[in-house]
């Protein structure tokens, strides 16, 4: 076959190449504005190279927006983000294949220990919050759901619904809290995440902290009981809830779309989700005890807050980075990348386009302090020992 096979192969190759060439000739495909916008990076030394990150899928929308904007200012940087999931993101980071990882759960001790082998100078990796998203309890109920429509529920009611104890929409517990709503005698279909997820963990720990004995399960990344249906990813839950009448599920605020959402009972009032209400809780939460390593900033959400107009059901997602990198370019990139992410502009960008809760100035200042730990001088000059 050698001869003929090769000939056809060469031909096919040529065809494929021609196709690829015409496509890439048409434009390199990148969506960049015509006018070069170099102003913002003019003062600093230029960063260039290709950098990879991987991790939480919850951050995908936000990271994509950040990358788009960041690359407009830094033309020579190419960033790839693979939304593989928090676990895979961290394990890839710990192999040294990616520059940073995004995760919904803070690093555990074992990961911190392992990170010493990949971070230059023997330092351990640290995690800082960069993305906060509200979690909404979304429902689909004919006539009662839709954009900006809300039902009122206290944590105990939510817990009993998600535990299968309340199985009809006209249950007295729901009626009592929504005297004006005309609730039908429809069975409730609970929709939860079927994959391991930070959203599930945050939702469960909210229920555990607030619902008392109505919620007998421990917080974890897996859904603990056999009630209702499971669906993969926040979008899976959102689309499942959207598909049938009488469903209820917990969804990241950015994916809730036009579904109705539940107003949570905080103190004596019912608070609907809003970025401001969520931000209030982030600010009043304390930096966690488990933040053992230098630079680590783990937020322990105050689910039981009684503050006025606070929405305590949310997800804090972190970026994991090293304090020093073997490669000076990578270090410079990570520093400027994280700085951009938590900058006012960066946070506003994802608040507008990815449904995030913008970090407050106080929190941003704390994060910036951690980021300043990243050493951008080349590791060889500081005598790295490994």
């Amino acid at each position: 076959m050698q001869d003929k096979g090769k000939k056809t192969k060469v031909r096919l190759l040529a065809v494929a190449c021609a196709v690829a060439a015409t496509l890439s000739l048409a434009a390199c495909g990148d969506n960049v504005p015509q006018e070069a916008n170099e102003a913002s990076s003019a003062g600093k030394s230029k960063i260039s190279g290709e950098f990879q990150g991987a991790g939480a899928s919850s951050q995908q929308g936000a990271v994509e927006a950040w990358i788009a904007m960041y690359q407009r200012h830094n033309r020579d940087v190419k960033i790839a983000y693979n939304p593989t999931g928090s676990g895979a993101g961290i394990s890839t980071f710990l192999t040294g294949a990616t520059a940073w990882a995004a995760t919904d759960a803070p690093l555990d001790a074992q990961a911190i220990e392992q990170s010493k082998s990949i971070c230059a100078g023997g330092g351990s990796a640290f995690d800082v919050p960069v993305y906060v998203s509200g979690i909404t309890v979304a429902y689909n109920l004919k006539g009662l759901s839709g954009q900006d429509k809300h039902l009122n529920m206290d944590p105990a009611t939510i817990a009993r619904i998600f535990d299968g104890k309340i199985s009809s929409w006209d249950d007295p517990a729901i009626k009592e809290q929504n005297p004006k709503a005309n609730l039908p005698a429809k069975p409730i279909t609970v929709v939860h995440r079927s994959d391991k997820s930070g959203t599930t963990k945050n939702f469960l720990s909210y229920l555990k902290d607030t619902a008392g004995e109505d919620w007998p399960y421990e917080a974890g990344e897996n859904w603990p009981n056999d009630v209702g249906q499971g669906s993969k990813g926040a979008s899976g839950v959102a689309s499942t809830v959207g598909q049938a009448d009488g469903t209820i599920g917990y969804v990241d605020a950015s994916k809730v779309g036009t579904l109705g959402t539940v107003s949570l009972k905080v103190g004596q009032a019912y608070v609907p989700y809003s970025p401001q209400a969520a931000s209030t809780v982030v600010d009043s939460s304390k930096i966690g005890q488990e933040a053992s390593g230098p630079g680590r900033l783990v937020i322990e959400l105050d689910h039981g807050t009684q503050a006025a107009n606070a929405y305590p059901l949310l997800l804090v997602s972190y970026d994991v980075a090293c304090p020093a990198y073997q490669d000076a370019d990578t270090a410079r990139f990570i520093k400027s990348w994280l700085t951009y992410e938590v900058s006012r502009d960066g946070q506003q960008l994802v608040a507008d386009n990815a449904g995030a809760v913008p970090l407050s100035a106080a929190t941003r200042a704390k994060v910036m302090k951690s980021i300043s730990l990243i050493s951008v001088s080349s590791p060889s000059s500081q005598g790295q020992g490994k």
Binding site: K4, V32, Y81, L349, N353
Partner: protein, 374 residues
């Protein structure tokens, strides 16, 4: 058909006869009367017995094999019923298939335009319009798909073809050949996700953990492609007339020259169309590429380094996004349902790609196969 008589002969297919007997027994009352007239006192209705009386030659009464009217009607009814069932099966299958194609077409056509085909997803912010006036596109995914598939082809076509040559030309039904052809059959049933796991494991062991590149995807796909190539090529090589080979040998041509210059050349159109169909099969694979080729929003031309998005993975990723958030102040031209629209448009592109490949394969087979038939 309707006036065809059902005269059965003794030597006919057993099954039919047995069926006939069973049915005839049911129609006993009718028949028994007639038999009583024909064979004096023959107790067994369906067996010809030499009667114990004066007749020397057995009298075969063909009339008693004659089916009753109700029997014929029953058979006709059954025939009609099966006709209807077969037709219903056909209609039933059409419903979902038309629905699949129609949904994809209807939902995909909206965003399928030149901008969508020539831009990638880098620089796309939420549902906002890009500077070029589009909403992001699949240029990078098309390139990724072509490169990964090409990589798979480069691996699997030579191996598959030579394996077929071995099976047809060299191994004359030996034990090894039997084992190989058995394993090729088994291999054609490997689940695509297992192929993905295999490539992932192999690359993480050989090239270090966390290795993800387009070529890894090619390896996974080639595992799925090789058996298809082997089987179609084998079939094509087998139908090359033995006369051609013998004629070549008689002229003193070596076996290698005979195979490359005559056998493969004759079988070429069939082989090419087989390869194209094999490509059409693997080009739509998603699961193995999710874990091997990764996902990236900008264009990556290098198959051997860096992640690569392919069309099916792109479809899945956009489906996973579902919606995007638009700024509260509206944001001119922001489309919050854009991910699903992109997913459908990419799915439509993928289907068109597969259809075109299929058409080419068929065309190659048709145009060039005339030669061998002459």
């Amino acid at each position: 058909m309707s006036d065809r008589r059902d005269q059965r002969l003794p030597g006919q297919s057993q099954e039919l006869a047995v069926g006939g007997v069973a049915d005839a027994d049911k129609a006993m009352p009718d028949q028994a009367r007639r038999q009583a007239v024909a064979t004096a006192g023959g107790g067994q209705p369906n067996r010809v017995q030499p009667s114990g009386t004066d007749d020397a030659a057995p009298v075969i009464d063909f009339d008693k094999f004659k089916p009753t009217r109700s029997f014929i009607a029953a058979r006709k009814r059954k025939d009609l019923l099966m006709r209807v069932l077969v037709f219903l099966a056909f209609l039933m299958a059409l419903i979902p298939l038309i629905s699949v194609l129609w949904t994809t077409l209807a939902a995909g056509i909206k965003r399928l335009n030149w901008n969508f085909l020539t831009y990638n997803m880098s620089g796309v912010i939420g549902g906002l319009q890009t500077p070029s006036g589009g909403y992001g596109g699949i240029e990078h995914a098309i390139i990724g798909t072509l490169e990964v598939t090409l990589g798979a082809m480069v691996i699997s076509v030579p191996i598959g073809l030579m394996c077929a040559v071995y099976l047809v030309e060299y191994a004359h039904g030996g034990r090894l050949a039997r084992a190989i052809s058995l394993l090729v059959d088994v291999m054609s049933g490997i689940p695509s996700i297992v192929a993905g796991l295999f490539a992932f494991s192999m690359f993480s062991i050989v090239f270090g953990p966390g290795t993800i590149n387009g070529f890894e995807g090619s390896v996974a796909l080639s595992l799925l492609m090789i058996p298809t190539v082997v089987k179609s090529s084998e079939e094509m090589l087998r139908i090359v007339p033995g006369d051609l080979r013998e004629a070549a040998y008689a002229l003193g041509v070596t076996k290698q020259r005979t195979i490359t210059k005559i056998v493969l050349r004759t079988a070429l159109p069939g082989i090419v169309s087989g390869v194209i169909l094999a490509i059409a099969r693997v080009i739509g694979e998603t699961a193995p590429l999710l874990m091997t080729a990764g996902f990236i929003s900008s264009t990556n031309l290098n198959l051997f380094s860096g992640q690569m998005t392919t069309l099916p993975v792109y479809v899945y990723q956009e489906y996973s996004k579902l919606t995007v958030t638009c700024p509260a102040d509206g944001g001119a031209g922001c489309v919050s349902s854009i991910p699903m629209e992109r997913a459908w448009a990419a799915a439509l592109t993928l289907i068109i790609l597969v259809l075109v490949l299929n058409l080419i394969g068929r065309l190659v087979a048709r145009v060039f196969s005339v030669k061998t038939e002459r």
